[in-house]
């Protein structure tokens, strides 16, 4: 029933704060003289250096973390979830099991459940996510290889 990786939910962080954190790291690297190579030129050494600096772990010290995001357990009935979303105007809430994060429930899921659309309709991931132009970092394989190595 539980996921294999135990991720204990300790809070949530806004997208703006995370973007600032990444932007500060990019700025620091640019000040140190590391310039990202464009994929067309294909300077492999420079690209390797750039990617190596992106393998550093993030530092969340001083980052504002909301310590109490809305959350409920796996066994919370959808009726109760609907009441929570309707009365508080919540956009999303985390689902935990003994403190471990197991899922996210958004307004779209609750809507789909209430409207009786059968199975769970997956939230369409917007492909063109708005990212600050400073954060447009290019990787050879778009950072996908880090997903398996990183958390």
């Amino acid at each position: 029933m539980h996921s294999t990786d135990d991720k204990i939910l300790i809070g949530s962080c806004s997208r703006l704060v995370l973007e600032k954190l990444l932007g500060a790291h990019v700025e620091r690297m640019e000040l140190a003289g590391f310039v990202p190579s464009s994929p067309e030129i294909g300077d492999s050494h420079q690209q390797q250096q750039w990617e190596d600096h992106f393998r550093q772990r993030i530092d969340l010290t001083g980052v504002h973390i909301d310590p109490s995001p809305f959350q409920f357990t796996e066994h919370t009935s959808v009726h109760k979830v609907h009441s929570l979303f309707a009365s508080l105007g919540v956009q999303y809430a985390y689902v935990t099991s003994v403190g471990r994060l197991t899922g996210v429930v958004g307004l779209a899921e609750v809507r789909a459940a209430v409207e009786g659309m059968g199975g769970v309709r997956k939230l369409e991931r917007r492909t063109a996510a708005r990212v600050h132009p400073q954060l447009e970092v290019h990787f050879v394989n778009d950072g996908e290889d880090f997903v398996t190595s990183a958390v």
Binding site: M1, D6, K7, I8, L9, I10, G11, S12, C13, S14, R15, V17, L18, L21, H25, E51, R55, Q56, R57, I58, L60, T61, G62, H64, D66, T73, E74, H75, S77, V78, H79, V81, H82, F85, Y92, V95, L101, G103, V104, V105, G106, E109, V110, R111, A112, A113, V114, E115, V120, R125, R126, A129, V131, V137, F139, G143, F146, V147, A150, V151
Partner: protein
């Protein structure tokens, strides 16, 4: 009165209302009202009923053999309770027996949907072990407003940053002990200086916490 009731029922059937459809057309967040029976998952009923039947088959012989004496009756009750708990544990998948409301579990034909049925399991979380590359990947490919911060078991605990204000005042209080009352032998004069300093520190810390809770609500989470 009957006309009002009938019209009300028809109006509820004909939903969503004009105002709700305007909200939907504008693409604003819209949550429809609950209808009776809308939130029940009929698929898993058969499996649960089999489990309940098995539990009953195991429990009923114990209850019927409870006529022999008081001790046997107590024992049977105890055993039946254990078996019932086991059945509930088996059904819900929990380690501890969490009983759902009886109308939907024991005699009812409907099994309510829970949050685990509708939740999304592809979570993009950030932790201390995440790299900047991972953060970049998450921010590029998703567009959520907030992201969960998680902590893996077995890794060092995330340190909560203490504000400079607390550090400054704590050090100030440690460096400057409170004045002693020489003439007046009160309760404060008799306690040791360490205790007095500690009490002062706790007082300042509690004051700081009180002010933080009253006026320092983070601006970013007012959505």
């Amino acid at each position: 009165m009957i006309a009002v009731l009938v019209s009300n029922a028809i109006a509820q059937r004909l939903g969503p209302s004009f105002y709700d459809s305007v909200t939907q057309l504008k693409g604003l967040p819209y949550l429809p009202d609950l209808r009776s029976g809308a939130l029940y998952n009929m698929v898993s009923v058969a499996r649960n009923e089999i489990r309940v039947f098995v539990a009953l088959v195991l429990v009923l012989p114990l209850l019927s053999s409870a006529d022999n004496g008081a001790s046997a009756c107590t024992q049977a009750r105890w055993q039946s309770q254990l078996l019932l708990n086991a059945a509930v544990v088996w059904q819900t998948g929990c380690r501890y027996p969490i009983l759902p409301p009886p109308h939907c579990w024991w005699f009812g034909r409907r099994h309510p949907q829970t949050a685990s049925h509708i939740m999304r399991k592809d979570i993009y979380s950030v932790s201390l072990e995440s790299t900047f590359a991972r953060l970049n990947y998450i921010l590029k490919n998703t567009s959520f407003d907030t992201y969960p911060i998680v902590e893996s078991k077995g890794h060092p605990r995330m340190q909560i940053p203490t504000s400079n204000f607390v550090v400054f005042f704590c050090s100030f209080c440690l460096l400057c002990p409170p004045p002693r009352h020489h003439h007046h032998h009160g309760r404060q004069a008799r306690c040791s200086p360490v205790v007095a300093i500690l009490s002062q520190v706790f007082k300042v810390f509690s004051l700081h916490c009180a002010t933080q809770h009253t006026n320092a609500i983070p601006h970013a989470f007012h959505r």
